[in-house]
Symmetry: C2
Subunit: 374 residues, 2 copies
């Protein structure tokens, strides 16, 4: 793989983009691999060119036309860090259809358009890598596709949304427990939650990550809309994600030696049927997931023959996430291919039913039935 | 990588070898990758051919001449699972010098001959993979070399020896604490400790694993003999590994909110100097390492920019370890190269001093000064 360096365009200069750009500018030699494969930053697409130049980006590199950078024959690798659905989806699809390599941290696009993007990449020989889309800097997709490739995964589950886990942790602070609204306000104050927190607190962000984990674990792209997010209430489905979790519910859980956390779970039955859910779940206080506090993430893989493997770390933040983006860039430089590695093709959403795991419940005084897990 | 399957010889049919052989025989299609790369078991070297055939190994495959298998031009990949220094070391070196690929779980050979074996592999283009040598089935070397490649590792530490961790856990069982000797006897009864437990309890097994982790983290092969294993006593160095840890010492630690566990630590200073030690260490009861109980392993990587990543799982056992061996075989089938990936060459042992991290201590009533860590 030695020879000309790969020319990289970074789309988006937000929290993660800024870290990636600085690393590519400042640590170029360090990021070159021993066999000579190297990366050179050619362009950065930003919203406001003047502001980017004022902030120190080289004027020769900045552009407000990401589609031009994608189409530019002098760009080999596109790093999509804009977030959201469009134009990110179209830009990624366009790059792959030209056979270019793409690195993205965009869990929404990968979860909602993964089957289409995978088909395009396989058709053109383009490479799509997205380690940063799940667990920030925690290596989990790579290990699933490579190191654990000889295993049959039975279940994958985890705490994959730092915002909700911060809120649920603050609510159970023994010194000064917060009510949900106050905990959310504190998360917003600290920059852990957005002004519109619905994607996090309603579980949609965790659903996206679960869909991506399931792709690596079970070789199927689930339909995000098919993943259950609502626990049962006294009279049918209650609110999604953690929106039902009151301080009183947490205290009910604590009396049972448990803590309510938002857990994403996907498992495969012997018949190939996949069960998946993102539900506020009552976990033992003393379990590894129960003790995963604040904005940390933890993902557990139960597989045969290996047993249970746990991965934990900072699940968000520009610096941590840049580790995964840069790792993916280095993987592309050494010719490692897409994140799914040598796993079989996955199509989907297949229309196959995604059912909800059947679990015993803890019935809070509020009437909400929180599934319990070990 | 499609085309002829790679022909594999497994040397050694003990706990791990048996699992690997059965997987290669029973799950051949499953272990083939989507792009057609596949593996076929051609031969198994055993101590006693008659017994192996009686146990169900195909007679056409078994041999008691591992060196012949290594030399056989019809063997592409050698899986060394004999353990110990010789003849394992010579067989691995011979295979690599012929440009063959080698997978091994042999931490002793990799730690003590790693620099030589790496040099040979780089010279001939042979491939050496050894994920199974550290942490059983826990993916940690692969993630260090690939997913975390963009990071500068500051420290790596962990509980990497299940036998000693089982003993130390049994000593602190609140229901019925064991004295050291009784805990060791229990570990032997359950098959977690060997008849001669010195390699485990004196810390040498953990030293080997630390040397291998440091290779991936810091691109240097440390001299195993240079890694400190003895805490200070009242009058100079005390016994190695966990041999000093009495029930009374554990109780002294518990009164300080701590638990003594065997922790392997390596860190790199700004000047490139590497500090490394395997010491019985007083950890907070409530920390992730403090809570790692029984035969489980946990390895933590502190790195920039990612922060702290933790990996945990079953650190030993035939089934778990076979996951890593088979994963390495599949990596070879898809052309992934050696475990060190694109990291720079490491030479050594360099003769550079390996110093011992300087830490505050907990002085037990016995006079032993156990370093404390967070």
């Amino acid at each position: 793989m030695s020879g000309s360096p790969l020319r990289v365009a970074v789309l988006g200069a937000g929290t993660v983009g800024r870290e990636v750009v600085h690393a590519l500018l400042d640590r170029r030699d360090e990021l070159a691999s021993a066999d000579g494969a190297s990366l050179v930053l050619s362009a950065v697409a930003v919203r406001n060119v003047e502001r980017a130049v004022a902030a120190g980006y080289p004027a020769s590199m900045v552009s407000d036309a990401p589609a031009h950078l994608v189409a530019d024959p002098d760009i080999d690798v596109v790093v999509e860090l804009m977030g959201g659905d469009e134009p990110a989806h179209t830009l990624i699809a366009a790059a792959l259809s030209m056979g270019k390599s793409v690195v993205t941290a965009n869990k929404h696009v990968v979860a909602h358009h993964g089957a289409e993007l995978e088909a395009t990449a396989r058709r053109t020989g383009g490479v799509l890598r997205f380690e940063a889309a799940v667990g920030g800097g925690i290596p989990v997709l790579g290990p699933l596709a490579t190191d654990l490739a000889a295993n049959r995964v039975e279940r994958i589950r985890g705490i994959v949304n730092g915002t909700t886990n911060f809120i649920l942790t603050a609510m159970t602070d023994p010194a000064s427990p917060f009510e949900f609204e106050a905990a959310l306000a504190e998360a917003q104050r600290l920059g852990y939650a957005e002004a519109d927190p619905s994607g996090d607190v309603e579980g949609l962000d965790a659903v996206n990550k679960l869909v991506i984990l399931a792709r690596l674990a079970f070789d199927a792209w689930l339909d995000p809309a098919a993943v259950a997010t609502r626990p049962d209430g006294a009279d049918g489905p209650a609110g999604p994600g953690i929106t039902t979790v009151s301080l009183a519910d947490q205290q009910d859980a604590r009396r049972a030696g448990r803590i309510i956390r938002l857990v994403a779970t996907a498992s495969a039955g012997d018949d190939g049927e996949i069960q998946a859910a993102v539900l506020a779940t009552a976990l033992p206080l003393e379990s590894a997931l129960g003790r995963t506090s604040g904005v940390r993430n933890r993902i557990e893989v139960d597989a045969v023959p290996v047993g249970r493997i746990g991965f934990d770390g900072p699940g968000a933040g520009g610096a941590a996430t840049s580790s995964a983006v840069l790792g993916d860039l280095m993987a592309i430089a050494r010719g490692a291919g897409s994140t799914w590695g040598a796993r079989p093709s996955a199509t989907g959403p297949t229309g196959d039913p995604v059912t909800r795991p059947d679990r015993p419940v803890l019935i809070a005084a509020s009437g909400i039935r929180y599934p319990i897990d070990d």
